[in-house]
């Protein structure tokens, strides 16, 4: 009876660890790896089999002669690489020390609530990324300041929209369209000179770099299900950004 309670606790702890990683943008193979490492760390578990897809986790563990199975659907898709690092460190600690399962559970709950940077720092650096990127593409100094300010607005808009709904196609579309509108206005008002360079800078915080990276790394290890779905995510995000930019350009410059 005691083992069963322990096994249940361990199961829900491993699922929580996996959920934190998956919802913050880890590759599926890393989530599987971490879950099975956590489960196999305690000797009363005789068998463990995680199955992770980008939208959910299935985990079966065996003890004595019972098997427990749990299904967890994951939802939000933010990118917080700090949490992934922390869970990774936690799993290493959990395996190497005699940490109790309740302690581990509490530790994970702390990680889940942790905020790496305050929101305004995040937005500010999103702006830096866009501004310096347009400098990298050879824009003038004034254009890069425009790109910096507009990128900050784009990032902030995307953050707000993510809280309101979770249809990322619409969110990226609106953010890209708003950014393009502001870029066109800044050129019309005579603040910026080169509209192309400003727009290239401001769409960089929206491009699907994480999806491409994770799709490649998952496919490499034979996890083609995750690879395909992340690849499709990258395509949809890229299309929505392109549509958002194109939509505003059509309104202001005609064509089509």
């Amino acid at each position: 009876m005691e083992t069963k309670r322990e096994a249940k606790r361990l199961l829900s702890m491993a699922i929580l660890a996996g959920k934190i990683m998956l919802e913050n943008g880890a590759e599926t193979y890393r989530v599987e790896d971490t879950i099975s490492r956590i489960c196999n760390a305690r000797s009363f578990i005789t068998y463990s089999e995680p199955f992770v897809i980008p939208t959910g986790i299935l985990l079966a563990i065996g003890f004595d002669d019972n098997i427990l199975t749990y299904i967890q659907r994951t939802k939000s898709k933010t990118i917080d690489l700090n949490k992934i690092t922390l869970v990774n460190e936690f799993s290493r600690n959990f395996v190497n020390t005699e940490m109790t399962i309740d302690e581990g559970y509490r530790y994970l709950e702390v990680i889940d609530r942790k905020i790496a940077y305050p929101n305004f720092v995040n937005v500010l650096f999103g702006g830096f990324a866009g501004g310096f990127f347009s400098l990298l593409f050879g824009s003038s100094f004034i254009d890069s300041i425009c790109a910096f300010i507009i990128s900050m607005i784009v990032v902030k808009t995307n953050n707000i929209l993510d809280k309101v709904n979770n249809i990322f196609f619409i969110n990226n579309f609106i953010a890209a369209a708003l950014g393009t509108l502001l870029a066109i206005l800044s050129v019309k008002l005579g603040l910026g000179n080169n509209m192309d360079k400003i727009i290239i800078g401001l769409i960089m915080p929206l491009v699907p770099g994480v999806a491409i990276t994770n799709a490649a790394r998952d496919s490499m290890l034979g996890d083609f299900l995750a690879g395909m779905s992340r690849g499709l995510e990258a395509v949809i995000v890229a299309l929505s950004v392109a549509f958002g930019v194109g939509f505003m350009l059509i309104i202001f410059h005609g064509g089509m």
């Binding site: 943008g25 880890a26 590759e27 890393r30 990118i79 917080d80 690489l81 700090n82 949490k83 992934i84 690092t85 922390l86 990774n88 290493r92 790496a116 940077y117 720092v121 995040n122 650096f125 999103g126 702006g127 830096f128 990324a129 866009g130 501004g131 310096f132 990127f133 400098l135 990298l136 593409f137 990032v155 192309d196 727009i199 290239i200 769409i203 960089m204 915080p205 491009v207 699907p208 770099g209 994480v210 491409i212 990276t213 994770n214 799709a215 490649a216 790394r217 496919s219 490499m220 990258a234 890229a238 392109a242 549509f243 930019v245 194109g246 350009l249 059509i250 410059h253 064509g255 089509m256």
Partner: protein
């Protein structure tokens, strides 16, 4: 001088992406270094090979290998070093110019630019696969030796 300026700008840009993706504070500078190294490789190879696809492939391999090396060295997941470094290589400019060409009804141009953007994205994926396969092979080799 040109390369030094490119290095500085890409370093700062990657640092921006690093904080934007919530990378742990002690790793921001390391991952910015990965990104800047990748970008300089991209600029140099773009000049000598005059092909942005080949340049992106080499740059992605550079980012991947430096990222994997740092991951081993500092015991952190490799993605926290590679993701910010990869972002400047993603064909955002290609996407934009493709959209512009479609709007101008210049479909021949759009097909050319769009294909190039798709191939650049694939080159990034292949670069990451190559670099992490190399690092995996080296780890396995070390394990074999230590047995």
């Amino acid at each position: 001088m040109h390369y030094i300026m490119q290095f500085i700008y890409s370093f700062l840009s990657t640092a921006g992406f690093a904080v934007f993706f919530n990378i742990p504070r002690d790793s921001v500078i390391k991952s910015s270094f990965c990104g800047a190294a990748g970008w300089v490789v991209y600029v140099i190879s773009n000049e000598f090979l005059s092909s942005s696809i080949a340049g992106t492939l080499l740059a992605a391999i550079t980012v991947g290998l430096t990222g994997e090396f740092m991951a081993k060295r500092f015991k952190k997941p490799a993605t926290i070093f590679t993701i910010p470094g990869i972002i400047p290589l993603v064909p955002g400019a290609g996407m934009y110019y493709t959209a512009l060409a479609v709007i101008d009804k210049n479909f021949a141009n759009a097909a050319e630019l769009g294909t190039e953007a798709i191939f650049i994205a694939l080159a990034i994926a292949i670069g990451i696969i190559v670099s992490s396969s190399i690092s995996r092979a080296l780890t396995n080799l070390n394990l074999e030796k230590s047995k």
